[in-house]
Subunit: 159 residues, 2 copies
Amino acid sequence: MREFLKTKGYKMTPQRELVFRSFFELGEHVSVDELFDRVKRIDESVGYSTVWRNLKLICEVGLAREVTVGDGVTRYDRVTRKPHGHFYCLKCKSLQEFDLNEIAGRLSKVATAEKFETESFKVEIEGVCKSCRDKENKKAKRNLSTSPKISRTKPSRQK
Amino acid sequence: MREFLKTKGYKMTPQRELVFRSFFELGEHVSVDELFDRVKRIDESVGYSTVWRNLKLICEVGLAREVTVGDGVTRYDRVTRKPHGHFYCLKCKSLQEFDLNEIAGRLSKVATAEKFETESFKVEIEGVCKSCRDKENKKAKRNLSTSPKISRTKPSRQK
DNA sequence: TTTGGTATTGAAATTGATTTTCATTTAGTG
DNA sequence: CACTAAATGAAAATCAATTTCAATACCAAA
């Protein structure tokens, strides 16, 4: 990794190594805050901007890419061999992946037909995951009469 | 429209009517700023928050939905009969639509298979549109020797 | 039509994530 | 070891999104 970065003109530092390692240890869909928390647990002295900048760097060198869902927090996905889409649960804000092989093929065709040069795909299915749906059902049974009031604004961003 | 809103417990006001009308007159992918600009041209006195709140309201009552690409600006799409995806050009930031009929069907299947209750799809193809590619090619021809330095950070948000 | 309660408005302030600044330190080259 | 560009950490700046609050306007009921 040190060598890899060197060829791109970057230096290796203990902080950078820690950030990179932590990022790859964590699963997918890592937010800056999550990564920062993890890094801090190992080295209290590392600053937020260092984590942020190195996460950006990981993207810059092509090892990760940004994922944005509609909640105002950017997450970062390790670039893996396989293209995948995301299920985004509107209740618990969790992301699950699904394979995009076949669909990516079709999207490529659409792009080509429209003379669009594809850089990447972003496919998300928004909805409610099984676990949240189960919870809802239980609640509904417990409490048949109350219909929750619809809120005019979207829930405040988490954390 | 007045009646429609009344049934949902909302009042009609001149400002609201203007915001709604302007939104539907504009094309798709409207940002708050764009809508605000347009509204202001007709009535200087309307405030930004009024535009913002009414755009939210349009979503709330199901006539529009948020679209987020990776540039930090939320856009709003009129909810139309047809599901569609977006080409997002990384150079000129433009959005073009493409039909999602067939692909939506496949995505539904994937969701069902994973026991995920679908609320909506979001399909984006990021890349470079034809017009930007043509410009790039011209530039490249004019200037064969210079290789632009890669920037470490993403371009500042527009406006 | 007047009145009263509630929703809406506009301006300004706040929030929360992201990004930059800047003074200092450090990595890696020679 | 010495030098230079890159990297760091803290704090400040940005920026879109959202909330607050006092004033105003809608509209239903009298």
